[in-house]
């Protein structure tokens, strides 16, 4: 029998699980660290229509005019919840639910593109990510679905049929790849509270917290997808999640300018 014909490399013969061998001196390079990736919430912003959305878009356009490179990712919202509820009744596997969940943020991204078109709004797909340098140097505002492209490969998580990686995760993972330090989330609350402020008026605002502290509080509800609390401590570039209130004038622009508004969750 012929032998395995292997190429000589630091990983030759390895099973490719776990950490790389110490012979590799890994010094990560930031791909596009100045890009701001910002999510426009589905339920929190898009489902409110023009009253909420138009002022937010004005601030994004303003930031772009100031030379800030912005990539907009869209959330899902109530239509996503509707299809998730029906798919769950039918006992669809999580990977199927995640695939269904791709379509609504895509619709929202297309709506955003139409509104931003005259200011350089450009609808892009995951495969277009390598063209970001061109789009951004032309002054465009690329708009994409926030859903990461896992689809049928989204894993089941204990105690839920809902995909654990949704559009919050997509924004964080985009930042982590690009080498951007802060992921920005535009919602309809000032950030993180001790409970859902829409249901519990006595819930208190938390301006700054670490992922570890947040996990230890073991809150019944959090403002951001839980999987990010696992990822933040082990990420290399994206070390902060910023949640801002898009209903309050000036917050979005301030966040895009790098100011500490809303809630900051750090690694």
């Amino acid at each position: 029998m012929s032998e395995r014909r292997t190429l000589d490399s630091a990983l030759a013969g390895a099973t490719l699980t776990g950490a790389q061998p110490s012979s590799i001196d890994y010094r990560p390079v930031a791909v596009m660290p100045d890009v701001r990736v910002v999510k426009i919430g589905g339920q929190s912003v898009m489902d409110r229509g023009r009253a909420a959305l138009f002022p937010i878009l004005d601030e994004i356009i303003e930031a772009r005019r100031k030379g800030i490179q912005v990539v907009v990712l869209a959330g899902g919202g109530t239509r996503a919840r509707h299809i998730y509820a029906i798919a769950s009744e039918l006992e669809m596997p999580t990977g199927v639910v995640a695939t269904l969940g791709k379509y609504i943020p895509m619709q929202n991204a297309r709506m955003l593109q139409m509104l931003l078109a005259k200011h350089g709004g450009l609808y892009i797909m995951p495969d277009d990510f390598e063209k970001l340098p061109l789009y951004l140097s032309l002054g465009c505002i690329p708009v994409m679905s926030g859903m990461p492209p896992f689809g049928y490969w989204e894993k089941h998580e204990e105690g839920s049929r809902i995909p654990p990686h949704r559009t919050d995760a997509g924004v964080f993972l985009s930042c982590e790849f690009l080498g951007a330090r802060r992921a920005i989330y535009i919602k309809d609350e000032d950030g993180l509270y001790t409970d859902d402020p829409k249901k519990d008026p006595s819930a208190q605002h938390i301006p700054r917290i670490t992922a570890k502290e947040l996990r230890e509080r073991n809150l019944p509800d959090v403002v951001i997808e839980r999987v990010l609390l696992d990822y933040l401590p082990r990420s290399r570039w994206c070390k902060e999640l910023q949640i801002v209130n898009g209903l309050k004038p000036g917050q979005v622009l301030a966040a895009l300018e790098g100011k500490d508004v809303g809630t900051l969750i750090s690694a």
Binding site: S2, R81, T94, P126, H156, P220, V223
Partner: protein, 278 residues
């Protein structure tokens, strides 16, 4: 009837998840049940090793193709392949260059695809076709026509590969990708074709006293993992949380007949079962 609900500045569609936070554990638990829909329960995923089979060249590949050509007449199978040594070379260069994990993930699938093209060129006269990424809904058509699909094995995480638990190598490779495809579609089982008679407690290529597992429960394997594993850790982690797949078999593709016997339901190689399945 479907109802639109307003009143809080947002327009909702009535559903069990309306207005709910999808981070709330109580809400999430209402979406869960013991079982998942099994879409294709009579199909087996066959994963052929990159390093273990393809990197050996003709002597290892051709007899296996003959066996596949024969066995595909009787069994519904989807085939996936590993990338082997070229993947390891890609990753080691990419890490030396400091590319981010998502960037490495974007690169590696190309190396598996080379093996998929080779396999398809050899198997096509017997009826095979490369299957596009997630064109699963064509599967009934493939099987009716006697065509065996060759799937893309590396999952589409690409630039969005999550930060690994340890180090910078992407966690989601071809073992995970093929397992997850079988899981989400509710396949019958996954068979990994390697160059050893199964799974051993340590690497049998380095240790003469390595002991082979015959039949072993996934739960025991996770409690007492072998020192070196022939399959990616992420596959085991995913399987532990999964609902559909109950049986994973590891056979030796260098020994003619082992794959056929496994497909015929015999306990050959190492059989890993979950949840008390036989």
């Amino acid at each position: 009837m479907t109802k639109l609900v307003g009143g809080d500045g947002r327009t909702h569609i009535e559903s069990r998840l309306m207005r709910e936070s999808l981070q709330n554990r109580t809400v999430l638990s209402k979406t869960e049940s013991e079982r998942d829909l099994q879409i294709f329960p009579d199909v087996t995923m066959v994963s052929i090793g990159g390093q273990s089979i393809f990197d050996r060249g003709k002597d290892a590949i051709l007899p296996l193709v003959e066996e596949l050509a024969e066995v595909k007449r009787r069994h519904k199978i989807v085939i996936g392949v590993g990338g082997g040594t070229r993947v390891r070379h890609t990753v080691s260069i990419a890490l030396d260059l400091g590319l981010p994990t998502g960037g490495v993930a974007q690169l590696i699938g190309a190396m598996e695809e080379l093996n998929a093209i080779l396999l398809n060129a050899l198997l096509a006269p017997h009826g095979s076709m490369p299957m596009q990424r997630d064109h699963f809904w064509d599967l009934p058509l493939y099987f009716d026509a006697g065509i065996t699909p060759i799937a893309i094995s590396v999952p589409p995480f690409h630039f969005w590969e999550p930060p690994p638990i340890d180090g910078a190598v992407p966690m989601h490779g071809s073992d995970f990708g093929l397992f997850q495809m079988a899981e989400v579609l509710g396949f019958k089982q996954v068979i990994f074709v390697k160059d050893e008679d199964g799974l051993y407690d340590k690497d049998p290529k380095k240790h003469k006293d390595a002991k082979k597992y015959g039949k072993v429960a996934l739960e025991d394997l996770i409690k007492n993992p072998p020192t070196e594993n022939i399959l990616d850790e992420e596959m085991y982690r995913t399987w532990a949380e999964a609902k559909n797949i109950k049986r994973v078999v590891i056979v030796n593709g260098l020994k003619p007949g082992q794959l056929t016997r496994a497909l015929d339901g015999e306990d050959v190689g190492t059989v890993i079962t979950k949840g008390g399945a036989q």
